[in-house]
Amino acid sequence: MAQSLSLELFPEPSPAEPSPQAEAVNARPQEWLGIWFEHLPMEALGIPSKSQEAIALVEGQGRNALISGCTVGASKCGIRSGQNVTAALALSSALRIIERDSRKEHKALRQLALQAQRFTPTVSLEEPDALLLEVAGSAHLFGGREGVMERAQEVFSRMGFTSHLAMAPTSLASLWLARAHQSICVSPASLGSRLGDIPIHIPAWPPALRANLARLGIKRLRDLMRLPRDGLVKRFGPTLVRQLDQALGRMPDPRITWQGILPCRLRRELPVESDRLELLLPFIMIMLDELSMLLRARDAAVDVIYLLFRHAGSPPTRFRIGSIASHRDPRQWQILIDTQLQNKSFPAPVTEILLISGSLRPYEAINHSLLSDEHDIAHETSKLLALLQARLGDAAVYGVSALADARPEQAWEMVAPGRANTEIPLLGRRPLLLLPVPQPLNSHNGLPGYRGAALKLMPSPERIAGAWWEGESWQRDYYQARSGDGTRLWIYRCGSDWFLHGFFS
């Protein structure tokens, strides 16, 4: 297109430019693997769904108790989800009823996600019973798309979970296809037609909406896609149309990647009971090495470790070893553990040691320059802080920061080291040392005295009042005072009493 020389008042947009939204969606082709665990509630409790025994899961209490899942053996007797418990018991007298445990399902889904992480780092949880994996970058490592699907199904069936998998260019499409029991790999070209075959009850839409759609005679997504957009938006709200757009790839559908935060738990039984620390340390070292390997595999580091020592007949002894910066070097942890456990003794001989890590944090590697020989001060500082805190306790090591408050005691605060703010307060001159509690002074003839000698007050006192809006009604007149031997003090008068508050050191 030749550039015209005249200035245009309203330049026409160039038709060759694609809209930024479409560009974003087409930027990187994605491959999503949707995995639906059909019988997760049952398998999370350890009951294989293909068992011939008649077992059913129950949800709800009393009159609202409904069957929410059953084994193959139970369904042979005619039991289905949604039936009443009494009706189910009537169909099969040998039925075993077990209550559904949502916490176990929650945990099971996360354990499955942890296993799924071996295929790709982008694992997204789709509560309550599905996972979404983005495998565009890693599929070739497992033998292509079919290879990933096969391997994943194998992994999950070995763990005892039946899974339905489907692969599609968008996450929502792969999820819907998996729920519709279609384990296929869909290419972008055939996405529309494959999605069209999916029945209406598959996407998790509210029952009222589904009833509405059924009344209109819409049975599959294809019927929905044929209707005009504005009509759909007006009738059913924007969510429906947005989800269809996301499934077809017309709109982006960002997913939150799940960070595996399951802590590591290591156990070691001691061959010989002992309560001497030097005999326990080698075992602790072995466990620290194991922990370091586990952390490396997950590209993570920890900043807190719990050591539990079990005794026969006494309650276990717990230690918490924390560090400012998270790291995974076993030698660093050994130094901290040594420092903390140095003079501690055990009430009884130790039979077992457990090492539980805190929540995992992503590992941040430090770049060291090859040629420089100056210390990396930040690294040294964090090591020093960890060491001091291990021996002296967390509360003994802190930084100080100035606050904007006229009251002297509230004009500063303890903060974590390194987190102070750098404002310089606009106040009168303040003493370098402050007494934690103001000390009363003897006064002769209305003038204060320090260590027997009278104090000379310097001119220009400062009046500081308490926060009257919070109910503090005191008023103090602060003076800089000088004693006979040259000590500079910061004193104040409250009413008629004199107090010492600090030293101008």
Partner: protein, 208 residues
């Protein structure tokens, strides 16, 4: 005679001559010109400096503050181990300290405080460490502090009561602080290569 001179010139630092001035070694400026001149450059890095005063409020802290504040502004850490009084943050900010690099360690037990000071000095993360008075500072503990300061390349400022003047100490620099009218008088009790003398610091305008 010529041989003696060549010997002296070949080993300038190993052989100390009676009229020779201060020791070589890095110095950090004290912030006060007359004191810098008297000390031959400033505080000696990698050593223990004792500051003796009758009590708090005599200017012993403001003597070391400029050097410590300069360390923090430079990005190097500084540590303070106080006894009963608290370091007051607004005043520290007024003196020019960058509070992000200041570490305060408050422990009551003397042994733990000595251990903590040693760790700070040795680690290399702190360029200066200020220690409040210890009840009993034995010669052995002071030597350990001096060694830790030399290992880490930091300066250890130990504030002590004036009564300790009579005790021998392994510190390489000892000075006592008194107030005279508006000025601070510093007596250099022990300074490498110098007989004891005193320096008078003019007070700044605000009446330090």
């Amino acid at each position: 005679m010529a041989n003696l001179h060549t010997l002296f010139s070949k080993f300038p630092t190993q052989i100390w001559r009676g009229t020779q001035g201060h020791s070589a070694g890095t110095k950090r400026s004290t912030g006060y010109e007359s004191l810098d001149k008297a000390l031959g450059g400033g505080w000696p890095v990698g050593s223990l400096v004792e500051v003796l005063a009758q009590g708090p409020g005599l200017g012993e802290l403001s003597l070391v503050m400029p050097a410590v504040a300069a360390c923090t502004r430079n990005g190097e850490g500084a540590a303070w181990l106080p006894a009963e009084s608290l370091p007051y943050a607004p005043a520290l900010a007024q003196v020019g300290m960058d509070l992000r690099h200041l570490l305060v360690i408050s422990v009551q037990d003397d042994r733990q405080r000595l251990w903590a000071a040693e760790q700070c000095l040795r680690s290399g993360a702190c360029a200066a460490v200020i220690m409040a008075p210890f009840a009993q500072a034995r010669d052995r503990s002071l030597r350990r502090l001096k060694l830790a300061a030399a290992t880490g390349g930091s300066i250890a400022f130990l504030l002590r009561a004036a009564g300790a003047m009579l005790q021998p100490s392994p510190a390489s620099l000892r000075l006592s602080v008194e107030r005279e009218a508006h000025d601070i008088r510093i007596t250099l009790l022990k300074c490498h290569g110098q007989p004891p003398r005193s320096v008078r610091l003019q007070s700044s305008g605000s009446g330090h």
